[in-house]
Assembly symmetry: C2
Homo-oligomer: 351 residues x 2
C-alpha cells in the first residue's frame, strides 16, 4: 500500500520566511498575528471570524449567542493564584465577556499525557468545577484523549464557551470612536510574572499572585448601568500593548496612552526589571481594557472601582482623531514613543 503523501500546497506569503512553526507563533505578538492573517483568516474566511474578536457573535434561531475557544498549555500547571483548571475556565469566560455576553456553558477537552498522576487530574478537574460554579457557568460536554509519554506535557485543556448576548451593543474594534476614553480594569502583568517567578525561582517579600479571575460579572454590571461600551479586550498573551495594537488596526485609529496612568504593582515592576520584561507586554488573566465615550468615563470608572475585580481601574488614554492605526505612549518624562506589537516570543506557554 502506498503511504499517503502530503499534497503539495504552498503556504501564503510571508510565511516562506518561517518554514516551521516557532514558539513565537503562539506568543500573542507579531508572528502570531501573521499566522492568523496568513493562514487562518484566508482559509476559514467568514463574517464572524472577520470580527477578529475574542468571541464570535452569532445568530442561532431567535437568539444572539457568543462562541469562543481557547486551549490552555500553561507551564507550570500550578502557580500562585490558580492552576490550569481555573485558568481554562476564567480565560474562556473572559473571552465571552469581551463580547458583552453572559457566559452560560463550557465544554472541556482534555489531552492527557500517559503517566499523568491521577490525583493531579482530579485536582485540576475540581479546580475547573469550582471556578465554573463561582462564575455561574456549567461544564456540559467533554472529551478526553491520552497521548503517549513524551508526546504531550502532563495536561492540556481546551475549553469552548457559549454565552448569550442580551443587549444590542456591537462591542468590536470597529465601534471605537475618536474621543473614546480607555479604562483598564486593574494593574498589569500579574499573571505573567506569577508564572515567570515560579519558573525562574524568584522570591519577593510578597508572592506575586496571578490575577486570573472571571470578569463577566463586572462587564454585565457596566452594561446594566447603561454604559455605552464601544470595545472590550482582555489583556492576555501579548498584554496591553498587543491588545491596543489589535484595536488600533481594527478601528483604524491612533490610540494615545499615558505611562504614568498605567497601574503596575511594585512586585510586578521589580520582577519585570529583573527578568527584562516590559509590563506593557506581559499577560494578565483577569484584566481588560474598555473603550467608552468620554462623557461616561468617570461614571464607568466608579462602577468598575465598586466591583471587587475592578478596584484598581484607571483611565489610561484616549482615542485620537488621527486615522493612522498605531499606539503612542507619553512617557513619564513627557516623551512620545510608538508602542509596537511584540516582535518575538516574550513568554511562551503563559496560558
Amino acid at each position: 500500500m502506498n503511504t499517503p503523501k502530503y499534497i503539495s500546497f504552498s503556504c501564503p506569503v510571508p510565511l516562506h520566511d518561517y518554514p516551521h512553526v516557532l514558539l513565537a507563533h503562539g506568543g500573542g505578538g507579531r508572528l502570531m498575528n501573521q499566522l492568523i492573517e496568513s493562514i487562518f483568516i484566508p482559509a476559514f474566511h467568514n463574517a464572524a471570524l472577520d470580527q477578529r474578536h475574542d468571541a464570535s457573535v452569532l445568530e442561532v434561531g431567535a437568539s444572539r449567542i457568543a462562541f469562543t475557544t481557547d486551549s490552555y498549555v500553561v507551564h507550570p500547571p500550578v502557580f500562585p493564584g490558580g492552576d490550569i483548571g481555573s485558568l481554562a475556565v476564567h480565560g474562556t469566560i473572559n473571552d465571552l465577556a469581551m463580547a458583552g455576553a453572559r457566559p452560560l456553558f463550557l465544554s472541556a477537552g482534555f489531552i492527557l499525557e500517559e503517566g499523568l498522576p491521577m490525583d493531579d487530574l482530579w485536582r485540576f478537574v475540581q479546580s475547573m468545577q469550582r471556578a465554573a460554579a463561582e462564575a455561574g457557568v456549567a461544564i456540559v460536554t467533554g472529551d478526553t484523549k491520552v497521548v503517549d509519554r513524551g508526546k504531550g506535557d502532563g495536561i492540556f485543556i481546551n475549553t469552548a464557551g457559549i454565552g448569550i448576548v442580551e443587549h444590542d451593543a456591537v462591542i468590536v474594534p470597529q465601534s471605537v470612536r475618536p474621543g473614546d476614553t480607555l479604562i483598564v480594569s486593574g494593574d498589569l502583568g500579574r499573571h505573567g510574572m506569577a508564572i515567570m517567578a515560579v519558573r525562574e525561582g524568584l522570591e519577593f517579600e510578597t508572592t506575586i499572585r496571578s490575577d486570573s479571575a472571571p470578569v463577566a460579572d463586572l462587564v454585565l454590571r457596566m452594561l446594566s448601568e447603561r454604559i455605552e461600551i464601544h470595545c472590550l479586550r482582555d489583556l492576555t498573551r501579548g498584554g496591553l500593548a498587543s491588545a491596543l495594537n489589535e484595536i488600533a488596526a481594527g478601528s483604524q485609529r491612533t490610540i494615545l496612552i499615558e505611562e504614568k496612568q498605567i497601574p503596575v504593582g511594585e512586585e510586578v515592576a521589580a520582577a519585570c526589571e529583573i527578568l527584562g520584561f516590559d509590563p506593557l507586554y506581559v499577560a494578565c488573566e483577569g484584566r481588560f481594557i474598555a473603550f467608552v465615550p468620554s462623557s461616561q468615563a468617570e461614571r464607568t470608572l466608579d462602577i468598575m472601582k465598586s466591583h471587587p475585580l475592578g478596584q484598581g481601574a484607571a483611565i489610561i488614554g484616549i482615542v485620537s482623531d488621527e486615522s493612522s492605526p498605531r499606539v503612542i505612549m507619553k512617557s513619564r518624562i513627557g516623551a512620545r514613543r510608538i508602542v509596537d506589537m511584540l516582535s518575538g516570543e516574550q513568554l511562551p506557554r503563559i496560558c
Copy 2:
C-alpha cells in the same frame, strides 16, 4: 517564595488501582468509562452532562441548541481517506448529528509543536475548511498555542460545535424502547483499520480508506421523513461494541445483535485478522447506529440506503424486553455470547 504545592485531594475509587493515566484511559473502553464516571461526572455534575450523550442539548434564549467538543490527536495525521483536519470537522459534526441537531458553527483550537512544517499546518487548515464547507458549517472562532519541541506531537486540534435542534424528539439512550430495531449506517472498522494499516505498513490489493464523513445530512433526512428516532450513536473509539454497551447501560435494556447481519468489508476483516482486532471494537468515523420503532425499520433502511453515506446500511438487531443492561450477540453458528465493553487499550490515538 514558596513554590506552590499540590493540594492533597484524594481521587475517588476505583481509581486507586490506576494511580497514573494510561493510554487505555483514552481508548473508548472500560477504563475511559471509569475515568468519566469517577472523575468528570461527579465533578461537573449537571443535568446536561447526565445525558451522557455525544452532544448536550441546551436551552439558550428561545432556542434549543446542541453543544459538543472533541480533541483530535490521530497518529499519523494523514491517512487514506482523510487527515487530522477533515477528521476534526467530521467528528464534531457527527457528535452534533447524534443529538439530531443541524450543525451550524465550529471552533478550532490548535496546539502546535515547535518545528511543525508550516506547509503541513496550511494543508490541515485547508482540509478543515473544505470539510466544513462541504457540510455547510462555518469555522467561526479559533485559538493557537505552540508548545516546545518534545512536548507535543506535531499538531493536535480541538473542535467544539454548535447545532440547532429543530424538532421535539429526545434522542438519548433513555428513549430506547423494547422492540426497537437497530440499524447500522454502513460497514464497520474502516477508519481504525486505515490508520493501523498505515502504522503497520500493511498492504492490501485495495487500500483501506477511512470512512470519515459528516453524517448530519443523512440524520436530518431521516428526521424530515418523520422517522421516530429513539437514539443515535456514532461508532468512534471502542466501535460498535462500546456504543451498544453505553446505550444498554443508559436505557437499562438488553440489546440483541446478529453477527451475520453486521457489515464488515473484506479488506477490513482481513486486516483485523492479521492484526488481531475484533471489528466490533474498531472505530469508524462516518458510521452510526440508529434505534427506531420496528414498525419504521424497513422505511428507515430505505431512506438510509438512498443516501450516499447510508448505502451499506443494515438491520443488525433489536432491543429485548429484558431490563438487564448488556449486549448479546448471536454468532454465525448460532451461539450466544455477551459482547462486553473493551477492557484495555485497543487502538491508541485513532482520532
